[in-house]
């Protein structure tokens, strides 16, 4: 058989949306998308949320999630049009010719069945091999994917293994029936960056060794550049640019692609030290009530007025807990904090109105940080009223000024949060913090939930405001590109401790401690061959030791 393994022509995908109180409406999710995938090749589908990349990926299995309909075009797999295939015909191809790796392996595994049973299930139900053959193959795949105890891990239940391991087991499950094509749907997005690199390497090796073709879906261009042969950039359900990985990364044609490629390379020059700290945290230790474990261990950092301190770490490192300790939501067991030259009371209840006013906070999920029943004017106006007693026209005037400051304009004053985009919501939260005329704003992963270009806009706004208002930021993030773009000094946290702390240039320059080295080298870079170089470098180092 010649010709491509998968050929998608002029694909159109629709769904019915049910806006509250209005009649149902048809929405076009994907329109006019075409691509070919040859045997053994990897195509990366990339785009921001809502670009239709997962929807296109699942269409390779002729599957529409929750009422999504494949309404037009041709999807040819191994020379057959699968878009119009019968339910029985689809059953013979799903789990045999095409398999799927989901973003959240934890949810995608049946909690009541052992892993091995689920890994070999498709191979057995399609009568591709005997149980013994399938289990032998599964164990081989477990070994190939670098899972610990490959012989016995199959007898465990999903909740008994870690997230990174589960993602590898899911990859083994997809590869077990020897498919022609695997759809990887954001397989490393939910993982920490130091786990991501290993899973990514394991997936890449498995793809190469089994010779399977793959659709690799992700929002992270740097990740897909490591595994894909070709890349298709999608936006609003349409193709923006489609070419080889080399061309997309090194010679992008479209403005949107160019913006995506350059978004992570911003660097912010470090401000000179002034010597007047706005916040000092001295030997703070904290634990959650009822848990016999210190989530913060003897943390000492300080932040100068008008500067930005980035607190970096992976999930569970204690970086958000540090924010809770500073805001007074989780009073520390030991240690002391000063703020604007005053001793800071441990709990919220003991703080003065000025303490509360001058220390503001912005959250990761702007969606839940704003009361959905309040208008933008109320959300921004309340701190003005509460702290400064502004009312009526004076308040409205100040709200309009603040809306200008966040580049939105006073037309937004009467809108509800649900009527704003993700970036606009985060801007309103910034305005609410600014309204209090703070000296310090704690930013807790404020750009993590946003698409890269929107996030870049928010960072730029924060920098502009800092230059104009002289406000300091305590910036909590797991993303090192963001750190480079905004920080003056950095604290790296690991298991509740600050393992490295100092001015940005010092922290990011060698010699490193082991953890910072691991963390920094695990962040995917926007160039071809980064993954191999890093792995080779690590191998060399461990051989040298």
């Amino acid at each position: 058989m010649t010709g491509p393994l998968l050929s998608v022509q002029n694909l159109r995908i629709e769904a019915t949306s049910y806006p509250p109180g209005e009649p149902p409406r048809n929405v076009v999710l994907v329109e006019g998308v075409s691509f070919d995938l040859q045997k053994g090749r990897v195509l990366g589908l990339i785009g921001e949320s809502g670009a239709g990349k997962s929807t296109i990926g699942l269409s390779a299995m002729a599957y529409g999630r929750g009422g999504v309909r494949l309404t037009g075009g041709r999807i040819m797999l191994n020379g057959r049009d699968i878009r119009t295939a019968s339910a029985a015909g689809l059953r013979t191809l799903r789990g045999h010719e095409v398999t799927y790796v989901a973003q959240s392996a934890a949810a995608a595994f049946n909690p009541a069945k052992k892993l091995m049973e689920q890994v070999v299930e498709a191979s057995l139900s399609h009568r591709l091999m005997t149980r013994v053959e399938a289990e032998t193959r599964a164990v081989d795949l477990f070994r190939q994917l670098g899972l610990p105890n490959p012989e016995t891990i199959g007898s465990r239940y999903p909740h008994q293994v870690s997230g990174g391991q589960l993602q590898r087991v899911m990859t083994a499950m997809a590869l077990c029936p020897k498919p022609d094509l695997v759809v990887f749907d954001e397989p490393t997005t939910a993982l920490d960056v130091t786990t991501q690199i290993d899973v990514l390497a394991a997936i890449k090796r498995a793809i190469r060794e089994t010779g399977v073709a793959a659709l690799y879906i992700t929002h992270d261009l740097a990740v897909v550049a490591q595994v894909a042969d070709d890349i298709m950039v999608l936006r609003h359900g349409k193709t923006v640019e489609y070419g080889t990985t080399d061309q997309i990364i090194n010679a992008p044609v479209q403005d949107y692609t160019r913006a995506l490629v350059s978004v992570r390379s911003k660097d912010h020059p470090e401000k000179p030290a002034t010597g007047t700290p706005v916040l000092t945290v001295d030997g703070v230790t904290a634990r959650y009530p009822g848990l016999a474990l210190d989530v913060l261990k003897n943390v000492t950092v300080s932040l100068e007025a008008g500067h930005t301190l980035a607190v970096v770490g992976e999930s569970g490192s204690g970086k958000s807990t540090l924010a809770r300790a500073i805001t007074g939501l989780l009073p520390p067991l030991k240690g002391r904090m000063t703020f604007a030259g005053r001793q800071l009371s441990n709990g919220v209840a003991g703080r003065t109105k000025d303490d509360l006013r001058e220390l503001q906070m912005i959250y990761q999920m702007a969606d839940v940080a704003m009361n959905p029943r309040q208008t933008v004017a109320t959300i921004i106006g309340r701190p003005l009223e509460f702290y400064f007693g502004l009312k009526g026209a004076a308040r409205d005037k100040r709200v309009a000024e603040l809306l200008d400051a966040i580049e939105m304009g006073k037309g937004f004053a009467d809108r509800y949060p649900a009527e704003l985009s993700g970036g606009q919501k985060q801007r309103v939260c910034i305005a609410r913090a600014l309204a209090a005329k703070p000296k310090l704003i704690i930013c807790d992963e404020v750009t993590s939930a946003l698409d890269p270009l929107v996030a870049e806009g928010i960072l730029k706004l924060l920098l502009d405001l800092q230059a104009r208002e002289g406000v300091a930021y305590l910036f909590i993030t797991h993303d090192l590109a963001t750190v480079r773009a905004i920080a003056d000094s950095i604290a790296v946290m690991y298991r509740g401790q600050v393992v490295r702390y100092g001015p940005k240039t010092d922290v990011l320059e060698p010699p490193f401690d082991d953890y910072t080295d691991l963390l920094l080298s695990s962040v995917p870079e926007m160039r071809l061959g980064w993954l191999e170089e890093t792995l080779a470098h690590r191998k060399m180092e461990s051989a040298g030791n």
């Binding site: 059953r91 989901a102 995608a108 909690p111 139900s125």
Partner: protein, 320 residues
Amino acid sequence: MKLHPVANLLVQRIALGLLLLLAVSVLIFAGTQLLPGDVAQAILGQSATPQALANLREQLGLNDPAHVRYFRWLGGVLQGDLGKALSNGQDIASAMGGRLWNTMFLAFWAAVISVPLAIMLGLIAVRYQGRWPDKVISAVTLSTISLPEFVVGYIAMFLLAVKYRVFTSVSMVYDGMSFGDRIHAIALPVLVLVLVVLAHMMRMTRAAILNVMQSAYVETAELKGLRPFTIIARHAFPNAIAPIVNVVMLNLAYLVVGVVVVEVVFVYPGMGQFLVDHVAKRDIPVVQACGLVFAAVYIGLNMLADVISILSNPRLRHPK
């Protein structure tokens, strides 16, 4: 000795259930003894002479402090002595025995019919979600939920016993009755109980199954190209057991209330009728005893639901 975490949890749950039952006994006792309103007055009526009231209080031991009376009562209950009825001096435990059995018989058949039926209808409603079988089932169950039990009872009686004389309108049972006759006699009350419980149970079963069917692992199974039957049997069902059992137990508790009313409608000699009769007679020892038995059954069912959902939870059965 270190117990398996499941055993540990089970012991905890059962202990908690017993503790709850003890607390309930206090509440029931307090409800009849401490509320405003004098028991002796309640029994004898407004026209009683002060002398008669004093005598009765003495006779009932009402002059002792409340906690003394409670422990006396509890001590009796624990030894199977539920006290004597005020109205006729009969021993409550022996009077209750036969009636408890009658009620169990009624509730047993109602449960045997309604549980599989509810699960089946729930599955059908999910299978045809949003289409006419689902809508018909929803509409019918919504109407039955909106009717009090006694209304369902009288409608059934009017149609099946009066208009078309299939069953008798009064469910007479007596000792030495043949099994077939007994079943025929309770057919109508069982039908009514089934209707009442079915509606609640089916709606909740539907929601529970729907929840499981929308989970990511069912999608995974679908993307493995498994047959719909295999998906339901192998992936949906094991995870739906706990929520369904919970729903079933929760709704069997409706039986406890439904039975009281249905027994009155069909003049069936069971616990419910017994309780209602003695509330009207203000026969406090009997009411206390009946209340305790009903609450015990109710708590027992909830405890059983807890136990089953613990046993069917893989996270608890296979700890890390």
